[in-house]
Amino acid sequence: MNSAGLIMHPYVRLAFFFAGICGTLLSTNPVFLLVTYLIVIIPTIALNGQFRQHLKLLIIGILPILLSFILLYIFIFHDKSKSWDFIAVKVIKIILFTSLFQITLSIPSKILFITLKKWGFSGQPLVLVLSSLTVWEDVRYRANKIIDARFARGFVVQRSAITKARQLPYIILPLVIAVFRTAIERADSWEQKDMLYLVDHIRVEKVAYPVILNIVYFATSVCWLVIGLLIHFKYA
């Protein structure tokens, strides 16, 4: 992620997330939901430099859902007038929820520590979340290496699904043993260094968040929630 991802203050990030979730949950008006997506989510994604990630969400996540909705409600149920509205609301809501997760939980590594601290994490939970968000790339790298090695050594002659499925336990085993060994080594090292104390007492650099942009984001979060509430009670 580029430096533009550094714009949101941790508290604003949290407010944006919860207001967005509540505002979306409360509203069943497809026009409001679509307008929110176009004027709030799309610009935020552009500012965060997450267009590629978001496109992946739309193609891999949302498009198959849309197609299965059409299959289920239009071709099988045959109630077209009612079903199109239902599909529109469901699909836009899923896009909004998932985009909120993408925007608020894709935290740049530079501000990951301070964001988690501001969110109230400390001690064990802080170490847990911090290492969970950073360690997976290492494991994925190792996994890819093991796959390449199995293919290169000729253990997989035919690339049919059954042959590949048979190889799976043999790919996973070295990966898991490496994972366990790393865990044990780290546990010993962290205990010696008193990692929990260090994490709680480490000094962090102050981050300069753009004030106006954060005010705009906070105001947007409040508006999203209030309009969602108004729509909910108007149609209740």
Partner: protein, 191 residues
């Protein structure tokens, strides 16, 4: 401290194996092996942490829709813990039974999410199976349950077998560091 270092790696295992399965284009999920392993080695609380955090991370990296199924991961951790402390991983037959039952539990826990969040259409193979049952006269809710019952047990059975296969081939020097009742109850470690 061992739990603290193992949990992130178990999370990465969930994400990593999910990525392998995706790379091999296999018609499976295999996204809960880390959860099952952590539950057997460390107990259900850590297993649930692995499942929930793992699915949140998967949602931001690989599959954005995974986040809706975090509740299923908690249910998996609790169920595996109950079965493990009662010795239901002692042999292959028992492990298969546990896997099949876990599939049923997963289907039941996932169904409300599929009904209320996705309206029955999750966009994967299960949506086609749901459509199949709807086409043959079943109600949408019944179809979602039937679709879950026909897909989940196979996947979960494989995951349980894989988890036990992994633990049984683990060096004693590693297993000996984990003091879990489930490991002793299922005769997975000699200590």
């Amino acid at each position: 401290m061992l739990a603290l270092t193992f949990v992130p790696l178990a999370i990465a295992l969930n994400v990593g194996i999910g990525a392998i399965v995706k790379a091999l284009n296999l018609p499976l999920y295999l996204d809960s092996i880390g959860t099952i392993l952590a539950t057997i080695m460390l107990g259900w609380r850590w297993g649930a942490v692995v499942g929930v955090l793992g699915f949140i991370i998967t949602a931001t990296i690989i599959n954005p829709l995974a986040v809706y199924f975090v509740g299923t991961q908690v249910a998996i951790a609790i169920f595996i813990n109950v079965m493990a402390i009662n010795g239901w991983f002692k042999n292959v037959f028992r492990t298969i039974v546990t896997g099949l039952l876990l599939g049923v539990v997963s289907a039941i826990v996932s169904a409300p999410v599929i009904i209320f969040v996705f309206g029955g259409a999750t966009g994967n193979g299960s949506a086609l199976v749901t459509s199949f049952f709807v086409k043959f006269g079943h109600q949408i809710v019944n179809s979602i349950f039937l679709s879950g019952f026909s897909i989940e047990p196979v996947d979960k059975c494989l995951q349980c077998l894989l988890a036990i296969f992994i633990i049984k081939r683990m060096p004693e020097s590693i297993l000996g560091r984990f003091h879990s009742a489930a490991l002793i109850q299922n005769k997975l470690t000699s200590k």
